[in-house]
Amino acid sequence: MIDQIVQGVLLGGYYALVACGLSFMYGVMRIINLAHGSLAILAAFLVWYIAEHLGVSPFIALLIVVPIMAALGWILQRTVLDRSLRSGPLTPLLSTFGIAIIIDNLLFERFGADTRSLAPDIGDLSYKSWTLPGGVTVGQLGLLTLGTAVVLIVGLQLFLKYAPLGRAIRATAEDPDTAELMGINSRSVYAAAAAIALATVAIAGAFLGMRSTFDAYSGGAQLIFAFEAVVIGGTGSLWGTLLGAIALGVAQNLGAQVNPRGFLIAGHLLFFCVLAVRFFAAGGFSLGWLKALRPRQPA
């Protein structure tokens, strides 16, 4: 049981890594980026391609891929997302859905249906673990993933709190019109936020490639887990995303103990329960209409 919880926490670290870019983008721009999973897979392919062709470690390849993905985020924001943001809340959903389809199919066109993995490129890090008293095993890669997620989230929090650009991002997220009156170019700030979000996606993609296999169409599943982590933890909150991701990982691992199929079901169930609680807490299905049917008391 304890071992399953520990494994769940480590898995949650990976989900947090994937989800933090999604959470950051939603928190700043109110965009639910449906291309998030596909972008993570794109980053994984880029890391894999560089590692294979240059013969370097995926961690070195990541140093090249992070700025590439950040630049892609900047370009996507300035060319597609910025325009779609001005056309109502539905348009960004449709545009990012379209971007996901384009990325998936371009990857399929270029790399085919074969699955790839970065595990062979990281040596024994992919399977080595420590055994703690009580028989609890802690995978080195899992711990590294969790540590990276925590460092990334703490770093992003510190950046948002203390860096001038971070404060400008928070101000723009809260009230873009007033931010403009403070001399902040909200379009540039949004583009910088998208660049940061996609830089985190690059890291997530690399860790995805190290811990499992991936193919051109693996993005959908990554998006679902990231989305569930963000919603469970509270949309737009980075700390919430970390906690939500860990809760999701633990729920999945405990679910798998009950039934082999329980891994996915338990995660979805937790997601559904959190949604339901939020819905009712916000006054959903109010019985007001029933009260309205009651006969009125004479004045």
Binding site: P164, R167, A168, R170, A171, E174, D175, D177, T178, A179, E180, L181, M182, G183, I184, N185, S186
Partner: protein, 242 residues
């Protein structure tokens, strides 16, 4: 030389023409008070000067440069700062963060975090308090301080005393004296005529989107202003031909 010159400015809210052919100039160091009843077009005029609202025609000339088509953030960096109606603080950010976020425009000038806190002593113990947790007066002081952090050549203040208690209004005006003493050029929208008469050097009275009366504060009587305010003095000696 005038810091601000507005020429035949029109601004709309959909089909409604909120500002109609407004023209005026504000020389360096002057404090122009815009007065008028609700819906007279004062806020729209201020927002149009700041670039937060698009003019449908006319010109906004700032420091001799036509900024009519310049976006709000560039106007702020050029030296126009607006304290918006309702303060519009970043409520999830602290007072310190609200001030610092405006200070990144990079304009050189006398105002920085320290000098703003000196001008608004009421903010000194509140630096780490969130904007949402402040009283109305504290919010207004923060909003003015935030605008000052951009080191503006022209400060636009919309509805300074709206929704504030008399004590808070006194405190804000007391601090504003420091800003005025620094030689700032200010356009002030204010409903409180007594204060306007004490603070401003010029007054413009708006009615239905037009400036009906404009002149030096010392040349106008309270009665003239009140009559123009309510539209009772069309054709008066000081009336501006709209």
């Amino acid at each position: 030389m005038s810091v601000l010159s507005v020429e035949a400015l029109d601004a709309r809210h959909g089909l409604l023409k909120a500002v109609r052919g407004v023209s005026f100039t504000v020389p360096q160091g002057e404090i122009l008070a815009l007065v008028g009843a609700n819906g007279a077009g004062k806020t729209t005029l201020l927002r149009t000067i700041a670039g937060a609202h698009k003019a449908s025609s006319g010109k906004v000339i700032f420091d001799g440069t036509d900024v009519s088509n310049v976006p709000a953030n560039k106007r702020t960096r050029a030296g126009i700062a607006l304290v918006p109606e309702g303060r519009r603080l970043f409520g999830e950010m602290t007072v310190e963060e609200n001030l610092l976020v405006a200070g990144r425009t990079g304009r050189k000038g006398p105002w920085n975090f320290t000098t703003v806190l000196e001008a608004f002593p009421m903010l000194q113990p509140l630096a780490q308090r969130k904007g949402n947790d402040l009283s109305g007066g504290q919010q207004q002081a923060t909003a003015i301080g935030r605008a000052l952090m951009t080191n503006p050549r022209l400060l636009l203040i919309d509805e300074l005393s709206l929704g504030l208690s008399p004590v808070a209004v006194n405190a804000v005006y007391e601090s504003l004296q420091t800003v005025i003493a620094s030689g700032a050029t200010i356009v002030l929208v204010e409903q409180d005529l007594s204060r306007v008469l004490r603070v401003s050097t010029r007054i413009a009275c708006m009615l239905e989107g037009r400036i009906m009366l404009e002149g030096r504060t010392s040349d106008l009587t309270k009665e003239q202003i009140t009559d123009s305010y309510f539209g009772l003095r069309r054709g008066a000696a000081h009336e501006v031909d709209a």
